[in-house]
Structures are given as structure tokens and as C-alpha cells.
């Protein structure tokens, strides 16, 4: 646990950066970037989160083990979300009622068009 005291100036600079990034992310939302809106928003969120973790939470000055803990938590969250999404994205590769050898890989926009196709046919 670090004993050294960080200068007030550092905290204020981080604060300023966070506010500016918030303004940017809100502002960018009003510009049409297509799918990049999401990318930009998430990148900015990661930067803001990192600033808070590194400086406000003093992670920059902590032992390696603490970093491992946080990285492990984030990594396993990524596993949960990543593999679940991989299931969602590839479910339609096997068309309902067909043997898997007969399916073809359908174009990506059908992901958004696909609905809940595992429901039994309603009587």
C-alpha cells in the first residue's frame, strides 16, 4: 500500500480530463459516425475508467498482484460476454430443420433480422 502522497494538481488534471472526455463523448453522440459511434463511446469510456483506476484508486502505485486481480476479473467477464455472443452470432449458421452439412454461412445483416427462431411452432 503506497505511502506517498500525490500532488493535488494531479488529481485536478485527471478530473479535468474526465470532464472533457465526458463532453466529447456526449458531443460525438450528436454526429453520425454509423457503427463507429459505439466504438468511440466505448473507447472513451475505457480511457475514463482507466484514469479513475490508475490515479484515483492508486492502481499505478500498487503491487502487481492487485493488477492481476483486476485484469483477471475483466478477462473472465470478457470470456462470459465473448463466448455468449459467439453463440448468438453463429446460431443462425445452422438453419433450423436442416442437417448442419447443408447450411451455408448467411450474410451478416441477417443477424439483425433474425428473431427468436428456437421457439416451437405455435399451434
Amino acid at each position: 500500500m503506497s505511502e506517498h502522497v500525490l500532488p493535488k494538481k494531479l488529481y485536478f488534471m485527471v478530473f479535468l480530463a474526465l470532464v472533457v472526455l465526458t463532453a466529447i463523448t456526449t458531443g460525438v453522440a450528436f454526429i453520425d459516425l454509423g457503427p463507429f459511434n459505439t466504438v468511440v463511446a466505448l473507447v472513451i469510456a475505457v480511457i475514463k475508467g482507466s484514469l479513475v483506476v490508475l490515479f484515483f484508486m492508486h492502481l499505478k502505485y500498487q503491487t502487481g498482484m492487485t493488477r492481476v486481480v483486476i485484469l483477471a476479473a475483466l478477462l473472465w467477464l470478457a470470456v462470459l460476454i465473448g463466448i455468449t455472443m459467439s453463440d448468438v452470432f453463429t446460431r443462425h449458421w445452422t438453419e433450423k430443420g436442416k442437417a448442419w452439412q447443408q447450411s451455408s454461412i448467411i450474410s451478416p445483416d441477417s443477424v439483425t433480422r433474425s428473431t427468436v427462431f428456437w421457439l416451437p411452432d405455435r399451434a
Binding site: 498482484m65 473472465w76 462470459l80 463466448i83 455468449t84 459467439s86 453463440d87 453463429t90 445452422t94 428456437w118
Partner: protein, 542 residues
């Protein structure tokens, strides 16, 4: 082997953690990890009795193809309660909270865990959880199966899903806090000289288990909260009629559910390392392999959950990945089995109860693990999913594996915990009864599953009756096998012969302190040199 020959008859220490203080307040407000271990022991034994009673009723019912005792509605409630109680209120706490609580500080040379008051709070939270859950059972129970699949559990079930979910939710917090406590203790409170590779393998296993507690339990907590929300507010998070995806529930549930079963087996594997080392009076073969395999199991276990969902409508391609990884997760477990067996080679093998349980574990866990591979491979799982094959597989690993390890550990460390010896002849007899009864109960179930009998069914086709009756007969033998230790352990605590500090002649910090230990464990901080420091001379004792 009988007790190592000593010059003097061992006597109990004058002051130890059991007689250091008297009165119910000294127990219910204790912060001593050893007393908290006893609090847990009584609690989980009670839950085991309840879960066991349910199993008894189930097996009685299955004597007749049309069900001997009850309607399917009641049977469904029984197997749900049996599963939830055995998993959350017996197996998951068993080794970590009883043996782990008692031994971790002693094995690493500390005076207590990192957060003793949090430790006591964990027990109270556990008792609260059990009370809430038993309230659900008494009010009529839940009939969805322990997996609480949606939309049955959220929309259509008529049972007391909410209180059951709340009970499990609360028990999750108890486990998280225990895991947190253990991790901080193992990281930050080891005695001087106790490097990671001088730790007993039991500690490595419990460390890996604690990592799983930290990462997996919060996910089941939020999933249960979502079930509760959907049930109370009738909103369609998982309901396909409203656009929800029931498979999302299964992903969230099994992301917790699969690591959970490794929570159940890893501590038992840790106990196994201690049993084999003590029972063969030899250093565990391939220490680092066994240590790393615990960590590897914990890590890979988080990536295989989809093998419970091959038939759910999950993507076939995700199924490929899950299947391959499930084969991979078997490897570290196999490494452990090979290493224990190699340890026995040219060791001075004793046939006391702890070692008998260990040998039983090796055989039964191997069968359980190998049959898991049939379930991990997509083609065979299509036929075996939701049959008694699955039931047999997981009982082989959870009962033949985890419970045998737990009982072996109880026997090994009972002299340390109570200062008394249990009667060895009765212990060996009970172990053999357990082994025989267990195999008669669950062996036929592999065949039943292969022949197509579905699980969670109160009635079955008449051609399955012979195997079912065999299974139920085995269950009665198993029950007797579990009852006998209850009796002789209780007897030995009061009337057993005094054990002395090290009745087994084993190595490890716990055997260097008196039995029972003083409240502060060590009078002086121990100096640690090497784990499992068995020399060649130990191999010829006894």
C-alpha cells in the same frame, strides 16, 4: 499402521481452543477459525441429513415403475431440493468451511485467517441462507430442478421459486466472503520461509477454489436476482413470448454452474494430496504439476460451460469449441490422478481409513471423470443428455470423489481437531460399506442412462425396474455407511483414546502443534523449510 510407537502415552494439552472458553456465547461470538469450522461442521451435517432424506425418499419411490410413494409433482420437488441442498448447503461448504477454515491458518503458520470477524459473519450469512431456503422447502418447495431453467422457473412454476432463489443468493455471499478471506490469508499471511512452492497442496487447491468463488458466485447472484425480478414483476427478461432469450439464462447459469462443480471437487483433490502423502509417507510425486493443475483446472473450468447446453439450441459451432475445451479440462485432473498413483509406488502405504478413502477416490473419480468425456463429446451427448448416465457421472465425481475426499480428510484430521482417535476398525468397515453401497447405487445408473431412462422422472418403463431396485438397495447400504461414522466420531470425541500431536507420523505444520491446538495455533512463529519433508527413514516406520 497403528499409532507410531511413543515413549509416553500422549496426554491432552491443558489449555486448547476447545476448553479455552465456555458457554454458548464463546461459541456463537467466536472469531477463532477452528471454532468456526465446528459451527460449519454441525450446520452442513444437518443439511446433509435433510438432503439425504430426500434422496432416500426418491430412491424408495423409484422401486416401482409407476412410483411407489408419490405423484410426479412431489417427486419433482424432491429432486430439486435434494440437488440445491446437497450442492449449496453441503458440498460447496464442506471442505472449504470445515477443513479449510480449521487448517489453512495452521498450514501456513498463521494465527488466524485475515479477517476473523468476516469469517464468523460468513457463517451467520450461511445460516440465514439455509433458513430462508428451508422455509421455501417447508412451504412446498420448487419443482424446476436445481438448474431453475427459464421460463419454467420464472413464469410457469407454481412453487416457491422466490424464496428458494433468495436463499441461494444469500448463500452465495457467504461463499464469496469465505473465498475472499482465504485468498487474502494465503497471499499475505504465510510464515517466514513459506514460499508458494513450500505450501501444502491442500492450500493450492483451496486457493484455486477461492478464485472460482470470487469469479463465479457473483454471476449466479445476479442471475437469481433476475429470476426474482421476472417472477415478481412479470417482465420478460428470459421469456420468449416477450422477446426474451431462455438460452441467455442458461449461459449465465452455467457460466457459474460449471466452475461451481469444480468448487465441489478441487478442495477434495487438495485433501487427496494430503491423504496420499500422509498415507504413503512420501512426498507427492510431481509437486509442481499437481500445484499448477489446480490453477489450470480453475482457469479452464470457466470456458467449458456450454457442454451443459449442447441440446439447448445453442450454436453448433460454439458447441465445437466447448466440447474441445471440455476435453482439455480433463487433462489437469488426470495429471493429479497419475501423480497420486505414482506417489503410492514405492511408498509405505498404510491401509487406515484415510488412505482407504483416498484409494476409493482414485478409482471412483477416474470412472466419473472418464464418463464425463462421453458427455463432453457432442455425438454421444445427444443420446446421453438428460438421462441417468449424467446422474451417474456426476454422482461418481461428487460422491465418489468429493465426499470420499471429505470423509478421508475428516478421518485424517479428526485427531488434530479433537485430540482423540476414532476407532480404526469401525472406520475401515464404514469405508468399505460406503464404497460398496455407492457402486451398487450408481453403477447401474450408467446402464440405465445408456438404455435411455430419462433423469428427473418419477415413473419409468417397466424394463428398467431391476436396475432401479439394485440402485435403491445400494442406497440403503450407502446410508448405513454414512451413519456409522456419525456414531463413532461422536463417541470418540468424548471417549476416544488420546491422539497426541502426530498419530500418523505425517509431515506438515499442523502436526507440529498439540492436538487439539491452542487458540493462537503457534506459540512461536514457525520456521518453514520444505513441504512434505519425508525422508527415506519414514518409509520404514510402522
Amino acid at each position: 499402521m497403528s499409532t507410531v510407537a511413543v515413549e509416553l502415552t500422549p496426554t491432552l494439552p491443558e489449555v486448547h481452543y476447545l476448553n479455552a472458553d465456555y458457554g454458548w456465547r464463546s461459541w456463537l461470538f467466536t472469531t477463532d477459525h477452528k471454532r468456526i469450522a465446528w459451527l460449519y461442521l454441525f450446520a452442513i451435517t444437518g443439511f446433509f441429513a435433510v438432503g439425504g432424506l430426500m434422496a432416500t425418499l426418491m430412491r424408495l419411490n423409484l422401486i416401482e415403475p409407476q412410483g411407489l410413494l408419490m405423484e410426479p409433482a412431489s417427486y419433482n420437488k424432491l429432486f430439486t431440493a435434494h440437488g440445491l441442498i446437497m450442492i449449496f448447503f453441503f458440498l460447496a461448504p464442506s471442505i472449504p468451511t470445515v477443513l479449510g477454515n480449521f487448517l489453512i491458518p495452521i498450514m501456513i503458520g498463521a494465527r488466524d485467517v485475515a479477517f476473523p470477524k468476516l469469517n464468523l459473519l460468513s457463517w451467520y450469512i450461511f445460516m440465514l441462507a439455509g433458513s430462508v431456503f428451508m422455509f421455501s422447502v417447508i412451504r412446498g418447495g420448487v419443482d424446476t430442478g436445481w438448474t431453475l431453467y427459464t421460463p419454467l422457473s420464472t413464469t410457469y412454476a407454481n412453487g416457491h421459486v422466490l424464496s428458494a432463489a433468495v436463499g441461494i443468493f444469500i448463500s452465495g455471499f457467504s461463499s464469496i466472503l469465505t473465498g475472499l478471506n482465504f485468498m487474502v490469508t494465503i497471499h499475505k499471511m504465510r510464515a517466514p520461509g513459506m514460499t508458494w512452492f513450500r505450501l501444502p497442496l491442500f492450500i493450492w487447491a483451496l486457493y484455486a477454489t477461492s478464485v472460482i468463488f470470487i469469479l463465479a458466485m457473483p454471476v449466479i447472484a445476479i442471475t437469481l436476482a433476475l429470476i426474482a425480478l421476472e417472477r415478481v414483476f412479470h417482465v420478460g427478461i428470459f421469456d420468449p413470448a416477450l422477446g426474451g432469450d431462455p438460452i441467455l439464462f442458461q449461459h449465465l447459469f452455467w457460466f457459474f454452474g460449471h466452475p461451481e462443480v469444480y468448487i465441489l471437487i478441487l478442495p477434495s483433490m487438495g485433501v487427496m494430496s494430503e491423504l496420499v502423502a500422509a498415507g504413503c509417507r512420501k512426498r507427492i510425486f510431481g509437486y509442481s504439476f499437481v500445484a499448477f493443475s489446480s490453477v489450470a483446472i480453475a482457469a479452464i473450468s470457466f470456458m467449458v460451460w456450454g457442454h451443459h447446453m449442447f441440446l439447448s439450441g445453442q450454436s453448433l459451432y460454439a458447441g465445437f469449441v466447448f466440447s474441445a475445451l471440455s476435453f482439455a479440462v480433463a487433462i489437469p485432473s488426470a495429471i493429479k490422478v497419475f501423480n497420486w498413483t505414482a506417489t503410492m509406488h514405492k511408498g509405505s502405504v498404510s491401509y487406515d481409513a484415510p488412505m482407504l478413502y483416498a484409494i476409493g477416490f482414485i478409482g471412483l473419480f477416474t470412472i466419473g471423470g472418464l464418463t464425463g468425456l462421453f458427455l463432453a463429446s457432442l455425438g454421444t451427448d445427444v443420446h446421453l443428455h438428460d438421462t441417468y448416465f449424467v446422474v451417474a457421472h456426476f454422482h461418481y465425481v461428487m460422491v465418489g470423489g468429493a465426499i470420499m475426499g471429505y470423509l478421508g480428510g475428516l478421518h485424517l484430521w479428526w485427531p488434530k481437531m479433537t485430540g482423540k482417535l476414532y476407532p480404526e476398525a469401525w472406520a475401515r468397515f464404514a469405508c468399505l460399506l460406503v464404497f460398496a453401497g455407492f457402486n451398487l447405487t450408481f453403477g447401474p445408473q450408467f446402464i440405465l442412462g445408456y438404455l435411455g431412462m430419462p433423469r428427473r422422472y418419477a415413473v419409468y418403463a417397466p424394463e428398467f425396474q431391476v436396475l432401479n431396485v439394485m440402485s435403491s438397495a445400494g442406497a440403503s447400504i450407502l446410508a448405513v455407511g454414512y451413519l456409522i461414522p456419525l456414531i463413532y466420531f461422536t463417541w470418540s470425541a468424548f471417549k476416544g483414546p488420546v491422539a497426541g500431536p502426530n498419530p500418523w507420523g505425517a509431515k506438515g505444520l499442523e502436526w507440529t502443534i498439540p492436538s487439539p491446538p491452542p487458540t493462537n495455533n503457534f506459540d512461536e512463529t514457525p520456521i518453514v523449510t520444505e513441504a512434505y519433508a519425508y525422508g527415506p527413514e519414514e518409509a520404514h516406520v510402522g
